[in-house]
Symmetry: C2
Subunit: 227 residues, 2 copies
């Protein structure tokens, strides 16, 4: 088992397909088909190599899937951790908007990882469910802290349940990223990218009225996502 996931120690020695390209292909196929239905042959075809090569870089189909997880989640966690820092004194609605933007930035072009977060793909693979939960829990814990801080600062309703608020905020953002690009262009004739942003603004507008101590306080200006 070589499994040298890092770059090789010396010399360029070009490989035809490196593990990262395999992960790219795997992510695309897993996203389309789900963990069970996605075939290693389809992944190999997409990566342009033989199925057996996957077993040179990864122990099994499941190991390939785990590597896929570990590649993505830590980056998201780092962004959310920085945002949840207690010294951040910006208005709470702006910080909640930043939460939506982090999800947007990291997940908008990646239906595979969104399916993962929703736990769809792993149906029936017990070990993986726990692995995914372990990756997601610290992220939602950080977001929950933003609600706690908002209550302490008198910006949010004191009777708010931070756990449920976190659940509502991010669950809907996932649905917005998933569904609106496919639906809004047809029903409200908007371009797909604009559809997502329209949905996000409408959602934060509704959400903020729902959680604010004083619902009539207007939202601060919400910056567009960085390009």
């Amino acid at each position: 088992m070589p499994l040298s996931l890092t770059s090789r120690s010396r010399g360029p020695k070009p490989t035809k397909v490196d593990p990262d390209q395999l992960l790219d292909a795997a992510q695309a196929v897993f996203a389309d088909e789900g963990l069970r239905a996605a075939s290693l042959r389809a992944i190999a075809r997409r990566a342009g190599c033989d199925p057996a090569l996957i077993y040179y870089h990864f122990e099994s189909k499941e190991a390939l899937f785990k590597a896929l997880l570990i590649r993505r989640f830590p980056a998201i966690l780092r962004e959310v951790e920085r945002l949840a820092d207690a010294s951040d004194r910006r208005p709470t609605p702006l910080r909640l908007w930043e939460v939506l933007l982090i999800y947007h930035r990291n997940l908008k072009d990646d239906p595979g990882i969104r399916s993962l977060i929703r736990g769809e793909i792993v149906r029936g693979a017990e070990g993986l469910t726990h692995l995914i939960e372990d990756q997601i829990r610290p992220i939602t814990t950080c977001i929950r802290q933003i609600f706690d801080q908002g209550i302490a600062r008198g910006e949010l309703r004191p009777d708010l349940q931070p756990l449920l608020a976190t659940f509502f905020l991010v669950k809907m953002q996932l649905e917005i990223l998933d569904v609106l690009p496919a639906v809004l262009p047809r029903l409200m004739n908007l371009p797909a990218e604009e559809a997502v942003l329209t949905g996000m603004r409408a959602w934060l507008d509704l959400f903020w009225r729902g959680v604010a101590l004083e619902p009539s306080t207007p939202l601060p200006p919400l910056p567009d996502p960085a390009p």
Copy 2:
């Protein structure tokens, strides 16, 4: 192709496994595995018969799946149609609560149909996606009318986008039914059934503040779901 889905014309003649029992088994397996991964052998095992029997009652795996859809959605539509009747003059928040209750009543014990509504199961089966959309669209159209009526009656914000409001309301209810029974008991030590109801009330509370013309108008008393 006998396919006599209705009861046979004369005499009791007990069958070992009737089509309805096959549908029950199919629904359970499709819910666990998804359309593609669910095997006819697993469905037959669950129904206690031979896989080939499925082909006596249904044309194919896909036909079995379609029959599954047609069995459920019309009942939901009828309830929502009755609720959306313009002569219903109850306060809008109460009618929105009834929407949540209809979803709760029809879907709480049926993860299979919830997956269907989310469109997860059908990934990659093009024809079925349209069939499902055709079943769901009239339901959401009715709910949208409730928002239109609420705006016209001066209970909801006139700048509300009914399409997005409908999307937010029912999407979150699906997530509540799916996720909270598994998560809340562990995180807030509540019994599972109470977890769903707690989530629904918290959600309508937040949602109502978000859409009401006057956010401080208190919610009317929300009846428990009928047993």
